[in-house]
């Protein structure tokens, strides 16, 4: 389907705002470990930024720019999420047990590494991809 939008202001604002939203969604994703945020809301916001691109530019153009089949991202996300649960079984703890530790690196200082983030990556991929699949499929219907 052709979306005939040629609104100059819209296009120029989107070029900036879409990437601001994308950056903020990734910030939200990492913030989710201790603060409000996380894979679900991060994924939704990522989907929003991509959707904004779809709205502004042609569907064909975006499909060329992002040659990803979102359908495959959903099971990939699920597999990552379910798969990290097995880490617990590997260390003879219950399924979904998460592990974390603190590391100190030069320049960065002390920071935390947690396996829960991997789980959240799965959620992030699944949510972003399913939101995109639903909306793009409905909107692309002729």
């Amino acid at each position: 389907m052709k979306w005939k939008t040629n609104n100059l202001l819209f296009i120029h604002v989107t070029r900036i705002v879409a990437f601001l939203i994308l950056t903020f969604s990734i910030y939200l994703f990492f913030a989710g470990h201790d603060d409000p945020g996380g894979g679900f809301i991060g994924g939704l916001m990522t989907a929003c930024s991509v959707l904004l691109l779809y709205l502004t530019f042609d569907k064909r153009k975006i499909d060329e720019m992002l040659p990803i089949n979102y359908v495959y991202l959903i099971p990939a996300g699920l597999l990552i999420a379910f798969g990290t649960g097995f880490l617990g079984i590997l260390f003879a703890d219950p399924y979904l047990t998460q592990y974390f530790d603190y590391f100190t690196l030069p320049w960065i200082g002390e920071f935390e590494l947690a396996t829960a983030v991997l789980f959240d990556v799965g959620i992030y991929l699944g949510v972003a991809a399913s939101a995109l699949v639903i909306i793009v499929t409905i909107a692309g219907d002729e």
């Binding site: 495959y72 617990g88 399924y95």
Partner: protein
């Protein structure tokens, strides 16, 4: 802690996700599905043996302490149900290979098949009320897709009702869960059971009990809320109907039995009498629908409504034998009714119709198919020595000894009407003049019958082995009627 419990949920979920990548290749999908279903079956058997020998197994996901963590609990009731879901799942899978159109296979039939199994197993194993809701939703979302898969006009119309009904029921589920959290301050089923015992089950807790009964009755198709079932179960292909009738209504009944044995078991004269009245009405209304219909699948679907009544009747009587009978009936009904739906698929394949008035003479052209159907139908109607007889017998005996004469009378009449409508199918479509063409008469059904025969064999075996099965189920009923066993083993984890 026992990580085995997680496998019946995680294996189908992972494989379901994996199969999306192979959606275009029929062979790989089938190969992986068979191996997975066999693996799930073995895990279920292993888990059942483990639970039988070592008592209730509990796992706290993520190693959070009880009662805050989310537990998965495998007691005897739950293991019987996951064993049932894997048996029905594997039998239906082989029938699906032979009947599901390649186009449907390409459009993610198998992934959603496995997501459905994952959701159903999750419902059976979870020990947390909110997660019960979550797994209900997982199951329902997979079922929405399977029911509409193929998108015929009839399917779209009926599945919209199905969807609207279930979304409405889910909303009430959340309301009920919120009530429970507000009054007891916990979501852990065992902990709720403990708190309800301490608080005394009266006033608002009885209201909550009825709200939850309403929700599960809607999902399990009990009396005033059964109307969505007959039509939505006749739309999809036979194998999907079989899977739904084998597993989907059972999760509603499972939830009713779980909630009304562990949590709301202190005001039996109030709650369980309501359940008993609903059981009687469900049986009667369902079977009347079946008597009035002349469509193969509709008759079967109305019977499923009717037979849900028997299952909750066992809960309403609330003695060990009645509960054992109710669970035996659930297992029997899943097997037999799933088998019968597959038979309706075969009849449709031969004659091209589901209207039994336009069928006839199948006995002459397809004798093996007809007699296998006859055995299964007689099992449903409750003719000894098939499984259906023992299911009804063990409900009626405690019904009489506890003095519930009206329900017993209703169940006997319903049994008779069930036999009548099964004979109606048999006399219309199997006896009489041959109404299908000579080319249709040559259609080979051997492959399909091989795929259905496990159901027939199982129902015969269940009838012949009723004695050992019942001694096992009576143990389970005693475990269910003493909720302190469940509560202690969860909270001690």
């Amino acid at each position: 802690m026992n990580n085995l419990i997680i496998l019946p949920i995680v294996i189908p979920a992972i494989i379901g996700a994996l199969l999306v990548f192979f959606a275009k290749s029929q062979k790989i999908q089938r190969f992986i599905s068979v191996i997975t279903m066999t693996a799930i079956l073995f895990v279920s058997i292993w888990l059942s043996i483990d639970v039988y020998q070592n008592g209730i197994q509990v796992i706290a996901l993520g190693d959070w302490p009880m009662p805050f963590g989310i537990p998965l609990v495998a007691d005897m009731f739950a293991t019987v149900m996951i064993l049932l879901s894997s048996v029905v799942g594997i039998f239906c899978l082989f029938f699906a290979f032979r009947t599901i159109h390649p186009n449907r296979e390409r459009f993610y039939f198998y992934p959603f098949y496995f997501f459905l199994i994952a959701g159903v197993n999750g419902t059976f194993l979870t020990g947390d009320l909110f997660n019960l809701f979550v797994f209900f939703e997982v199951t329902l979302i997979a079922s929405y897709i399977l029911i509409v898969h193929g998108s015929t006009a009839f399917q779209l119309r009926e599945s919209f009702k199905y969807l609207a009904m279930n979304v409405f029921a889910s909303m009430f589920f959340v309301v009920g869960v919120a009530y429970i959290y507000a009054t007891t301050g916990t979501m852990n089923i065992a902990h709720i059971g403990l708190r309800v015992e301490e608080l005394g089950q009266e006033g608002v807790l009885n209201v909550v009990a009825i709200v939850l009964l309403f929700v599960f009755a809607m999902k399990g198709a009990l009396f005033p809320l059964y109307f969505w079932l007959p039509r939505s179960y006749t739309g999809p292909p036979a194998v999907v109907s079989a899977l739904f009738v084998g597993l989907l209504t059972k999760i509603g009944i499972y939830a009713i039995i779980r909630v009304f044995t562990v949590i709301f078991n202190h005001e039996i004269s109030f709650t369980h009498n309501i359940i008993l009245i609903l059981a009687g009405l469900t049986m009667l209304v369902g079977v009347l629908g079946a008597v009035a219909k002349y469509d193969f699948k509709s008759i079967l679907a109305y019977h499923s409504v009717s037979q849900v009544g028997y299952m909750v009747m066992g809960l309403g009587i609330f003695t060990p034998l009645a509960l054992a009978g109710a669970i035996y009936f659930m297992v029997h009904h899943s097997i037999v009714k799933a088998g019968l739906f597959l038979f309706s698929g075969v009849a449709e394949k031969i004659t091209g119709t589901t209207d039994i008035k336009q069928m006839g003479g199948l006995l002459k052209t397809h004798p093996a198919f007809s007699w296998l159907f006859f055995v299964t139908a007689m099992s449903l109607a409750g003719i000894p020595p098939l499984a259906g007889f023992f299911g009804k017998f063990t409900l009626i005996v405690p019904g009489l000894s506890e003095g519930h004469y009206v329900v017993v009378a209703v169940s006997l009449i319903v049994g008779l009407l069930t036999l009548f409508s099964m004979m109606k199918i048999f006399s219309y479509s199997f006896w009489g003049r041959q109404k299908h063409s000579a080319s249709q008469a040559k259609i080979k059904t051997r492959d399909l019958l091989v795929a259905i025969s496990p159901f027939v064999v199982t129902t015969i075996a269940m009838g012949l082995a009723a004695e050992p099965i019942f001694s096992y189920f009576l143990d389970m009923a005693h475990e269910l009627l003493d909720p302190s066993i469940y509560i202690e083993s969860v909270l001690e984890e």
